[in-house]
Subunit: 119 residues, 4 copies
DNA sequence: GTGGTCTAGACCACA
DNA sequence: GTGGTCTAGACCACA
């Protein structure tokens, strides 16, 4: 399920976090359900527990999961999981649009790209 | 002209490259003209020559500048400097739109953001 | 009556202790009356008996409850239950005021906050 | 300058961060100046570099310091260092006042404590 | 068993 | 040299 690309320049913990995020957003990992323990996932992926924990910390910071000492880590159970992500993407979008405008890309050109993407 | 923000988490070479790009795109640094030597710019900014070198490499990779051994570095002289940048931004835009679609953001929501940005 | 918030970063035993304290201070659990047994409360809340034990220990340390071997745990029957709590809060307040003073917050600023809180 | 109390239940990284914060707020470590490197401080305190880094990360999150890859870590140079702290303390104060009110401590009692503290 | 902290030490990106 | 990431593995708090 989770594949680490060692050629990728991004750190492993980031790759793991991103992949888990994807599985969460797609519903493969269900809201409220328990994630594999730090140790188990570490063994499964053949990477260090510390690295997994770092990934979990990142997802916790973004409110996708939460960890309970002595119990384990869990997918956030609010239904708004997807909203957290939408917010993040819309923010990125706003930034890109701003930059596009600044360098002289016309509104029409952007609309075209949007139409293309939603074709 | 070039101000480095050490509080910025991005590496210094990236900041230098970005700032030079900006000066190039705005025409402050004219197409075909010579850039300051790595050594001189390093002294001027009080940073390591390696860092400038790295910034120049980055701009060369993106075709904004080119280097001539023994002579120095020069702003690309094709008139389409701005087009290189537009291409890059449109590519980023395409990526973001794709992601937005995937997580269920509607076309209308995006169009709204675009209209907002171009108001 | 006792709801555990797993998203809360504090340990479960602390949450249980705090909630029991609240029920005691509000008089829902009456002075002198018996608390549910560690085992029963554990079953009721679906958490580990060790966790309840730990919560009871904490409340005992703070003199809100006392345990009798072979009989169970009881709410302290002195009438000044609330005074124990007041003492604790006033002590915390003293600490915060001290720190506020040290970093240059004026007496007036604090008085303002107090007035705000009691408005 | 920095003394670690191994009997203290708080993690070492937190103790280090708190102590550094103190030195920063008191002006012992001057705004804009460089902190000891992660490695050097680790050797000096006989603790692991990772632990120091964790402390630095914490201070960076709270904007007291910033780190530059390849250069080092620095005290934030905005003059508002103390304001960051004041904000934090006033927030704590607000919380304590709220709790005090809830358990029936009178406004006068609090004002008394304030006067005591500022005597 | 589970997450949190820590050590000892390696290697990389960057300056 | 400096911070950032990672490994291998230990011990603690908590459940």
């Amino acid at each position: 399920m989770i594949i680490i690309d060692y050629k990728d320049r991004r750190p492993i913990y980031e790759q793991v976090a991103e992949r888990l995020e994807e599985l969460i957003l797609k519903g493969v990992l269900e809201p409220g359900s328990q994630l594999p323990s730090v140790r188990n996932l570490a063994v499964e992926l053949s990477i260090n527990p510390n690295t997994i924990q770092r990934a979990y910390m990142e997802l916790e910071r973004r409110r996708f999961i939460y960890s309970v000492k002595g119990k384990g880590s869990f997918i956030a159970d609010n239904e708004n999981l997807i909203d957290i992500k939408k917010e993040e993407v819309l923010e990125t979008l706003t930034d890109v649009i701003k930059e596009a405008k600044e360098i002289g890309i016309s509104k029409e050109q952007i609309i075209d790209k949007v139409s293309e993407g939603y074709r």
